[in-house]
Amino acid sequence: MTRRTAAPPGTQLPRWVAVPAAVGGLLVLLPLLALVLRVDWADLPALVTSEPSRAALLLSLRTAAAATALCVLLGVPMALVLARTALPGLRVLRALVLLPLVLPPVVGGIALLSAFGRRGLLGERLELLGVSVAFSTTAVVLAQTFVALPFLVVSLEGALRTAGHRHEQVAAVLGASPTTVLRRVTLPVVLPGLVSGAVLSFARALGEFGATLTFAGSLQGVTRTLPLEIYLQRETDPDAAVALSLLLVVVAAVVVVAVRGGRLTA
């Protein structure tokens, strides 16, 4: 509050900035508002709790949770390597790791297919061992992890860089082993960054559509997540599609508020 009323000279924004800012805000909020206005409130409970909707929601929550766990398991070490080591070519490595952020999901799906598909680089060998990820829930989790991992890595790497080395150096001087330093000093310091990264990963995994459709297929209870169900419902029952969309918007809003709230208190 004090910041806003007593802006130091030179930090005041020109007034015209407010206009494009307001237009930008409208661009984001207007479609969401229009979606809410389109919701058939009387039928909403029935539409959201129908058998296919429930199956899709449950599958989405399960797979997104599994993908988030995988992201934490793999992403924390990745962020540590990127933030705390001086490997040659680290910048290139970071750019490559972040690629799924900017890749169209359908491209991610084709790439996953080339690696883990039945005729893929790795998938062909797995198939010989009797392991098949094609059309399985595992394929959904793989696709979600692929697109969500960069969110966790970016958040955590930023937190690690901001936190700096000081506490870790003190702990090391006092005789703590590298693992103890990581467990007792580094991770507790960056915990807010880790949590917000995990929440963002969860949200991204929940919304995954293109890679799942291309790579995993679409079968109720197995691979048809909420976004795929919305896409299919749109063909025959637009009201149901809108109702389920609202559900995803609400979940996304909760997630974003949770992350922002977490950051403010941190």
């Binding site: 005729r119 094609a134 297929g217 679409s218 795929l228 299919l232 749109r234 063909e235």
Partner: protein
């Protein structure tokens, strides 16, 4: 599938640009473009083009055709033919799933002709009062079975699809090709246990050509289009679900005469020949 929508949107978005260009071109630009179109049209469609040229010269402007994605190749060819027959006319095409197109039309997209892959979506447009004329059936399509060329699961007949272990992909019952698959299953007693129910027939085809699935149920025209990328096995009882394709000029067509002329071309002997080449059935028989 986000892939199809943008294409349709781009078509719509480019429309004003095309109109402006057409307007700005004026008398200088017209003869050159018309000459090219006439040349290609004449070589592509032979006798018909020269015959229609004399009567079609009165038509000018742009005609925007919204057509089901399965019609892409056929309508690209017919659009070139039409431009050859009517040198003053430019055909804009937008291809997408029929229900996507119907939604765009009812939401006010500027289309002149709508060619749908099923009667239900056409009925939506008719019910909205947007059809300019009674829809005509111009083609039919039936289902077939495709497998990867090396046929990993040994699908000899369509009855093999029900074998345990065969990874079969079909369209979801919510989309026209899935509804048709269900009708064939009911008529023949074939009990499929698909590993995936896709939202569009192109996704089914993709799962087969990539080797993910052992077999898929698609339209004959899709199998024809995929060529050597798939091996085709006839689907027993496919006649139980003959999909009919209706088309109609739209009520808000900028030039109803041009829109009607395009519809006439599709149902003409020439149009029917191009459709038959692509694997479509004739509207009357099945």
């Amino acid at each position: 599938m986000s892939r199809r929508r943008p294409r349709a949107l781009v078509g719509t978005a480019l429309l004003p640009v095309a109109l402006v260009l057409a307007g700005c071109g004026g008398p200088d630009a017209a003869p050159a473009g018309a000459g090219d179109a006439a040349a290609t049209g004449a070589s592509a469609s032979g006798v018909t083009a020269s015959g229609a040229n004399a009567s079609g010269d009165a038509l000018t402007g742009t005609v925007t055709v919204f057509a089901a994605a399965s019609l892409t190749e056929v309508f690209d060819e017919l659009a070139a033919t039409f431009e050859g027959q009517h040198p003053g006319v430019e055909v804009e095409t937008s291809y997408a799933g029929s229900s996507d197109l119907a939604t765009q039309i009812t939401e006010g997209a500027p289309a002149d002709v709508f060619a749908s892959a099923d009667e239900r979506t056409m009925q939506e447009v008719v019910d909205a009062g947007l059809a300019g004329d009674e829809p005509q059936t111009f083609a039919t399509n039936v289902l077939t079975v495709v497998t990867p060329p090396d046929d990993p699961a040994g699908i000899g007949t369509s009855a093999d699809l029900a074998r345990p272990g065969a990874r079969v992909v079909v369209c979801a019952p919510q989309v026209p090709c899935g509804a048709a698959t269900q009708r064939v299953e009911e008529a023949t007693g074939l009990a499929l246990a698909p590993v995936s129910e896709e939202g569009s027939v192109t996704d089914v085809l993709g799962k087969v050509t990539s080797g993910q699935a052992d077999a898929g149920v698609v339209y004959v025209t899709d199998a024809r289009r995929a060529g050597d990328d798939v091996r085709e096995v006839p689907l027993d009882g496919a006649d139980a679900a003959v999909n009919t394709y209706p088309l109609a000029p739209l009520a808000d067509a900028r030039d109803p005469e041009t829109a009607a002329a395009f519809v006439d071309l599709v149902v003409s002997a020439e149009g029917q020949r191009v459709l038959a080449d692509a694997g479509f059935g004739a509207p009357g028989g099945s």
